[in-house]
Assembly symmetry: C4
Homo-oligomer: 194 residues x 4
């Protein structure tokens, strides 16, 4: 009941976030490669954020797939997640424009951290609604990725003020960790043929 | 018949409104916290409007859920609501850019007021189409929230010209009143297992 | 088969068009009513275009509702319609910024004219696919609105260079003609309980 | 399972891409035809890209229609395709603003090339998931269009540095080749009444 609309709305917001981020890549006036080169940091930031939004969409997709009903708290936990994700274009644009400087990189990490916490809250809200015997609860298991990511983001934020590139390295590393397909939910689903 | 498409279109418009509002948060040129600080009013306006659009999406979701058919007047009452909601990015941006000054705050209140009236009109249109014995009619009941909000918005608009912060306080207060889950429709639904 | 996706894509494009038009209402810097007043023509243009896109969405909704299958030519006739509608934000912005001057008003009329022709082509494509005995064919009937509108748009375009306000009057008039609910399709649907 | 959401998300992204491209057509300040004329290259670029995104949507529509399940790799192959398509507004804007100069035209060709490769990868991922006896495998057949396009794009990119208009001619030519309805999938579908 209503799950379709929750998914449709989330898909709409995620689709818009992932697409308007590209608007921060301002079309340069010159027609030479020199005009394009200063956009490289903005482009790399865009790629990183595209991958992150893609990961969120992917995991959101799997998580809602196993939810069997939609509750009021779920709607708000979902909006809370979308709120932090909606700050990606701003954080990405600021970090890209300032060539991965300390403060913008820290803010980017903060947005990542808050989004990770919001995702975890949504997960807990769904599990609370579905019950401890739910597919999601068993699929998520001990959820080392979900617990490790916020810690790494926090380390990255602290690192920005000393060795900025370490923060970028951590952001890329966490993205790769998530990119590797998460066999937990899919495996549990296969086993139970949900 | 056709309800899915009405929901999908509304979801699309609401998803875009909630997301393009973030574009009013212009990426600053500097890389220091000083560059970020002037954006605080714009950020707070964004948070407030995000919550309001979230509330509208939430209530719209519940209201259409109990509608059993789509009529011509409903389509237009819905577009009328979306029109006023589409002015949120403009009103939010103007209020944020001018640090909650009187006129922009009054205009923000006016948009809130018109959206509330448009929502009430849509509700009445659906009830007229569904009949007095409909789930929605019984669920909405006396609708004290729906009647109280426009009055409070009007007071807030009047207040902007004397004590501007009272208007902001009222906008936040009304949002909180609506954020508290509305048990009416959900309860009626549960009772009747629609 | 596939009709859902055609509707979803069209809804997405229409939802975005109707919403990004509001971005042409640039947030003014001042905080006084004087700062808002110069935006009045842009606001009125926005209202007019919002109504037009609403009408197109509404009619598109009804037309596709009676289509029973999706053909290749239909997909392209639909994209052709969306192309002309996608020029609404540009034409609206130009007309609003120049306070309904002759050329921008003529271009606005041209976009309206091309969209009307594109809509008619889509209608014919669906009728060709559904057959002369289809619900749509009988519902549309002689289609005086669809035939009258392009003529009126052409008159309006010609009028812009002599009496500009006549063009605006015609644009508003045609919108009102369409706003009055079209009982043809709905009536035919009711009769046949499709 | 989950195919609807994959389609909905892709439709959302494609709808936004096709629509925000129009934002690169900046509303001019003057109200004369002279103000409009400099926008002609930007307009022509927009038309070309609109057609290309339309073609991708169309083919994507057909390809996913015959997919019977959604796998993890498919989700990422799809996001990879959407990534390259999301660069269309940027590449289109740069080419239009610089009146089809060499470098911007080459970059446009590069985005076309990468999107074509990403589409092919998605196709292969689906075929791998569906098996060699799948409808898609038989429908695509030897896929001369899919193999010819990248070659032509590469030739066009090389041509931009000598005879720029040849590149444009190739981009238009390839679009026409794809515009001609692809009878392969539709025919196979008809035969098998999927």
């Amino acid at each position: 009941m209503g799950k379709n609309r929750l998914e449709a709305f989330s898909d709409g917001v995620l689709a818009i976030i992932i697409t308007i981020m590209v608007l921060e890549l301002k079309v340069p006036h010159g027609e030479t490669p020199d005009a394009l080169l200063p956009l490289l940091p903005a482009f790399l930031s865009y790629v990183l954020s595209f991958v992150y939004i893609g990961i969120y969409w992917n995991n959101h997709h799997h998580m809602l797939h196993v939810a069997t009903r939609v509750s009021g708290p779920m709607l708000w936990a979902n909006l809370h997640l979308l709120f932090w994700l909606s700050l990606f274009p701003f954080a990405t644009g600021w970090m890209g424009e300032n060539h991965f400087a300390a403060m913008p990189s820290a803010l980017y990490g903060l947005v990542l951290l808050m989004a990770a916490i919001a995702y975890w809250l949504l997960e807990q809200t769904i599990i609370a609604s579905e019950g401890p015997a739910s597919v999601l609860k068993r699929a998520v298991g001990r959820d080392w990725k979900g617990k490790l990511s916020p810690v790494l983001y926090a380390i990255a934020i602290a690192a920005t003020f000393r060795v900025p590139w370490v923060a970028q390295a951590i952001y890329v590393l966490v993205a790769i960790v998530w990119l590797v397909p998460d066999p937990r939910i899919e495996r549990t689903l296969h086993r139970e043929k949900v």
